[in-house]
Symmetry: C2
DNA sequence: CATTATCCATACATGAATGTATGTAAAGAG
DNA sequence: CTCTTTACATACATTCATGTATGGATAATG
């Protein structure tokens, strides 16, 4: 029972891994700290040493995972000045592919969307998601606005409406996949839906002038 | 303390009302049966008389509420043989309006989507939603297939793709509204997004022939 | 090498929630 | 008007999860 600092970090990671799996399987509320500790091969003593309580453990798990919002923001930050709609579709599809390939991230997202109840205790957790969403909305908003300025949007959509609908579509696709991963392939059907939507969004064939 | 059968039914309803509010405010897991009983103005004895446990109470609450899926199915059942896409948009927008006006239904849906963890215990509850979704999908599928047969769909979409995207969009809009009702008006922006999407879906202007 | 701080297991105390058992007053049935 | 059943309230037993306190073994530090 000799524990160096590196060892301690490893057990901390093991606890976070166990929390991911346990939360995913039993839900956050029904997962006791003893369940998690046992799954990690330690006792509650270790859990309480590294984390103050279950909420803190949950937040640490959320922080360790790379949330797709941050991922998207980073990608959107350094995109060339291409067709903004094509950029949007590419970035989201890229995100889909990456998440589908990462079991851990898939688990965390399933926990955040399907396996936890957002109440007063979880206010911090929800706040972080909202902040990430907010900065993401700003970036998407700029792209859709640019598309609108260049006359690339179908006349049925204002930039704000297009952004809202796109956001809803992506979220809906995502949630559907998380609910029934075996019934749906995110990289195939998910990307297809996103791309088809972007294509009809950009189908401004009502105006005669087609500059590009 | 005289209880006739009608009185008993009333207290049962009061318990269900209290469960709705308590689940909505504190989440399902953190709501104890004592919380609910107190909110209903009774004791746990009454709750245990009417319901075997919390899961049964939850299921009874879910059953009492008119789920939007059933609502939609009923509407779709007796629609004239109009433009299928217009029918779809009308029915969904009508559902949006009705839910936005019904606080109780809004609470129940917020519970089902945001305030409960779907784990093995809740398998029954999830199963009912899935069944309702399934029969709904069949009806929507028929309409989108009809639209495809009549050449009403934008060539970017197959009927199945259109249906999946539409479903995702509606769900995403719905969820977004439930998460932040003050930031979004379901009857205004929600309906606008749905209608705009349906409009671009039906924009099959690539073919020269426009029969209708 | 002695000391201290780290890392974790074990033990204990507490409260909260559950399920059940019992009591009971009225309603309903005959 | 009895008798049984209904519709609860109350009381009890038990389990479970939490938080904390303590102990101990080693690593880090000087």
């Amino acid at each position: 029972m000799r524990k160096t600092k590196a060892d301690a970090e490893r057990t901390r990671d093991q606890i976070l891994d166990a929390a991911e799996i346990t939360f995913f399987e039993r839900g956050v509320a029904r997962s006791s700290l003893d369940d998690i500790a046992r799954a990690a091969g330690v006792t509650r003593g270790a859990v309480y040493w590294h984390f103050a309580n279950k909420v803190e453990l949950f937040l640490a798990m959320q922080d360790r995972a790379w949330l797709p919002q941050e991922d998207l923001c980073e990608k959107l930050a350094d995109t060339p000045d291409r067709d903004p709609l094509a950029t949007v579709a590419d970035v989201v599809c890229d995100m889909f592919r990456r998440i589908a390939a990462d079991e851990s991230q898939k688990r965390v997202l399933a926990i955040l969307l399907l396996r936890c109840e957002y109440t007063d205790e979880m206010a911090d957790a929800l706040q972080r998601r909202k902040e990430a969403d907010c900065s993401l909305d700003a970036r998407f908003g700029a792209l859709f606005a640019a598309a609108g300025d260049r006359g690339l949007l179908h006349p049925a959509f204002t930039p704000a409406l297009a952004q809202g609908a796109f956001r809803a579509l992506v979220f809906g696709v995502f949630r559907r996949w998380l609910e029934a991963p075996e019934e749906m392939d995110l990289t195939a059907q998910g990307c297809a839906m996103v791309q088809a939507f972007i294509r009809v969004l950009g189908d401004a064939s009502h105006e005669k002038a087609s500059s590009a």
